[in-house]
Amino acid sequence: MGELPREADVVVLGGGPGGYAAAFRAADLGLDTVLVEARGALGGECLHVGCIPSKALLGIAGLIHDAAGATDAGVTFGPARVDAAKLRAWTQRSIDRLAQGLAALAKARGVDVVVGHGRFEGDGSVRVAREDAPPATLRFKHAIVATGSRPATLPGLEPGSRVWDSTAALTLPATPARLLVVGGGYIGLELGSVYAALGSEVTVVELLDGILPGVDRDLVAPLARRLGKRFKQILLGTKLTAMREAGSALAVELVGEGAPAHVEVDQLLLAVGRRPLTDDLGLEHTRAARDTRGFIVVDAQRRTADPRIFAIGDAAGEPMLAHKAMAEGLVAAETIAGHPAAFEPLAIPAVVFTDPEIAWCGLTEAEARTRGVEARAVKVPWTASGRAVAMGRPDGLTKLVFEAASGRLLGVGLVGPHAGDLLAEGALAVEMGAVAEDLAGTIHTHPTLSETLGEAAELFLGHPIHLPPPRG
């Protein structure tokens, strides 16, 4: 890969979940595929500094809380002692194992992995800047941009030792006594939960008037109640206006109704969303267009305005979720191989891995209404679930949204332990165009939390078993 350009059918920029899924599918469809990844290991932000390490840590946080919660059941453990170095190494082992698996899968398919930063040049080629080798030139018939995103920053709060972004926080540099999380979205709440379990006193500052903006309030309420106990405080409608070092602490100034004007903390965690990584790709040498937020504009095949170039994943728009990127990657690869693929999901599942978990897919009642569709939502509180009560977690909720006239399932919302796993049935049902009778007529295992989905369908049909009969 020295001076001579490497010719390839498909060059994929970015080896995250979207990029490797696209590259693997392209190779499996007989296309000569090269995958360019700057990190040196496949898996992207998700595997290395995102979904996977955060779930490892959240699992431990859950264990700590469950152990403490067992006291109510008459089982008492001693206080948790956390060896951060060991926990970090344990997390890293999972990451390494998965990354090695991906490398082996790439090799088994003959996908060439080039380590470096790729940029488009004008003539259907990508130049890859490499650290310990001369630049490589890749000539492509088609390219797939899967460069993902990075944590967003705020002016005046550049990440450093006192201001972590999510990437830094996941490496557990310290367990600060007082942690201020800026941003009440899923990243802030998940990482806040980890540090709260490890012993930090956590304060969350959110600019809008609720945590998890955009998520159904019925689902957010049980989480807000629980986090209200776990965290020191959640300050809504509050803005951070200044921060300075005060001795070993940080003095932070806040503006917001009901918020203190000053708080003193030991560490800041910035979790204000993510921004697409599309500005250093040489896109100006192509016809691909970006919107005002930096997302590359694509059609249903994930093709950009430049017919040779596709874009998927976080680089190509919301929602910035690994499984959405993977699905798009497959569409792009299949389109390039000449198959009639299209990215047209009815349900992109989304999960917030807090305790309780929040999970949803498809349309909410409000979204259906803005589409001019008459929808009816039904809610089954988990007090009606034998399993939830036996787990000591009757605070969950299952909510289904149906098209009123046809009974077609349009959306699913869940909050409670394991909501993320329960969502799979709902996503399948929405995607299959299932009606309430289909869900109600499917036997759900007793005693499991999945029964609440069948119960909700029965409620829509007017004859629930574990709830009082609907009146009228």
């Binding site: 979205g185 694509v298 589409r371």
Partner: protein, 440 residues
């Protein structure tokens, strides 16, 4: 007031076009004449240049949509006018609500209504058969669309009614219909305009594995157009041979003299000239049959189409006014036209108004082919490969360069004797190439 760019008159009875791709995004600054949309008409894919420059405020169309002439495609903001609000920086995380299913990342308007209820497998089938699910009535619970519903919808277009029976075991014949282009956005489902009813196909899978390849874009249009021509026109093909030894000698001599930068003097250039002269002498070959009035339309201009093989399929750009142009000019014009066509940059003007067609398959070998007439024209000249051939001349066998010609004609308009005369005229012109200059 914001300015609007509307779908311009495409001429030639074309009243609508399909948006293949939107080449600009809202907020883009564009220059006058910059290509902003790729559209496909019944004739061709063409890039539409913007009549003015400025900032695109709103894109009103999306790929796959069919639009009528006069429909607003883009709105432009006034100079300095606010185009769209920029997302304000905020401390709020960018966690989105559940996205509208299937919406493009930069969708301008929120979607209305629900996507059709169909399983992912059924949706894939619809894409493969080129069926727009929005137009398929679902027979399942809650209006869910089944595979059978999709097959029935595919069969209802262009196949015999019998083939459209729901639950019919065989996929109907019209599976040659358009499918979302692997290389492009979703095409709306439209019947393949075949003017006769087709019987259902057998289920080929019962004898072994099969693959289905969608016909799309130019190939799809060619299939429709050729089906029409073959079904409507009673074709007869007249074969002949022309001794082009002298023509080839002359062509090579002048090719060298053309000098740097001059276009190649191809055999096709001479064929165009010969055809124009022959057409003038035989006006019925330069005509169209008007079914509505029962008249023969004799054209007093000689615009000759040249079949060009492109990556996308067969395209026939037209050289206009061949009768009044010199050979070198024709060579230059043809070279540019072919290049534009191969690059997919041919304009609608390039592709319409033909009166006669020449198709040269000589490069591919063979001893001749019977071409299909490019309806509504009434004749087409097929040309095979010129070969060194033993020819008897003055009692001697001599090697001569011989070119096979196949003249297909519409027997409703032209009878066999006329065709023989036209063919003989062409041969005479090619065998005495000085006539091309004297009579052209």
């Amino acid at each position: 007031m914001a300015r609007e760019f509307k779908l311009p008159d495409l001429g030639e009875g074309l009243t609508e076009a399909e948006i293949v791709r939107v080449l600009v995004a809202e907020g883009d600054e564009i220059k006058e004449d910059q290509a902003v949309l790729l559209v496909e008409t019944e004739k061709a894919q063409v890039e539409l240049p913007s009549p003015f420059g400025g900032r695109v405020a709103t894109v009103h169309v999306q790929a796959g949509q069919r639009v009528k002439v006069g429909a607003v495609l883009l709105s432009f903001a006034d100079a300095g006018g606010a185009v769209r609000s920029v997302t304000p920086p905020s401390g709020a995380p960018a966690r989105p609500a559940a996205p509208p299913p299937g919406a493009p990342a930069s969708a301008a308007a929120p979607p209305t209504g629900l996507p059709s209820a169909a399983t992912p497998a059924t949706r894939r089938l619809a894409r493969e058969l080129g069926v727009d699910l929005a137009r398929v009535p679902g027979t399942g619970p809650g209006g869910r669309i089944s595979d059978e519903d999709v097959r029935a919808a595919a069969g209802a277009r262009g196949a015999a009614p019998a083939a459209a029976k729901p639950g019919a075991p065989a996929p109907p014949s019209s599976s040659v219909a358009s499918t979302p282009a692997p290389a492009g956005p979703v095409e709306a489902a439209r019947p393949l305009a075949v003017p006769i009813a087709l019987p259902p196909l057998p289920r080929f899978e019962q004898w072994g594995p099969v693959e289905r390849e969608p016909l799309r874009g130019i190939r799809r249009r060619s299939a429709e157009h050729l089906s029409l021509a073959w079904a409507v026109i009673p074709h007869v093909t007249q074969h002949d041979l022309a001794d082009v030894t002298e023509l080839e000698t002359m062509r090579r001599r002048h090719q060298k003299r053309g000098g740097e930068g001059s276009a190649e003097l191809t055999l096709t250039v001479f064929l165009l000239k010969a055809a124009a002269i022959a057409l003038r002498a035989h006006p019925r070959f330069n005509a169209s049959l008007d079914h509505a009035t029962g008249e023969l339309v004799l054209k007093r201009y000689y615009n000759i189409g040249v079949a060009v093989d492109t990556d996308q399929g067969l395209v026939v750009p037209v050289v206009r006014g061949v009768e009044g142009k010199g050979i070198r000019d024709l060579a230059a014009e043809l070279a540019q036209l072919v290049t534009r066509t191969r690059e997919g940059k041919a304009t609608l003007e390039d592709l319409r108004g033909g009166t006669f067609t020449v198709t040269n398959t000589g490069a591919l070998g063979g001893t001749g082919a019977t071409p299909i007439i490019n309806h509504p024209e009434v004749a087409i000249l097929g040309v095979g490969r010129a070969r060194q051939t033993p020819v008897v001349r003055d009692g001697q066998i001599v090697p001569r360069l011989v070119l096979p010609l196949s003249l297909a004609f519409d027997h409703r308009v032209i009878d066999g004797m006329e065709a023989a005369r036209f063919s003989t005229e062409l041969v005479g012109l090619l065998e005495a190439p000085e006539r091309l200059f004297l009579e052209g």
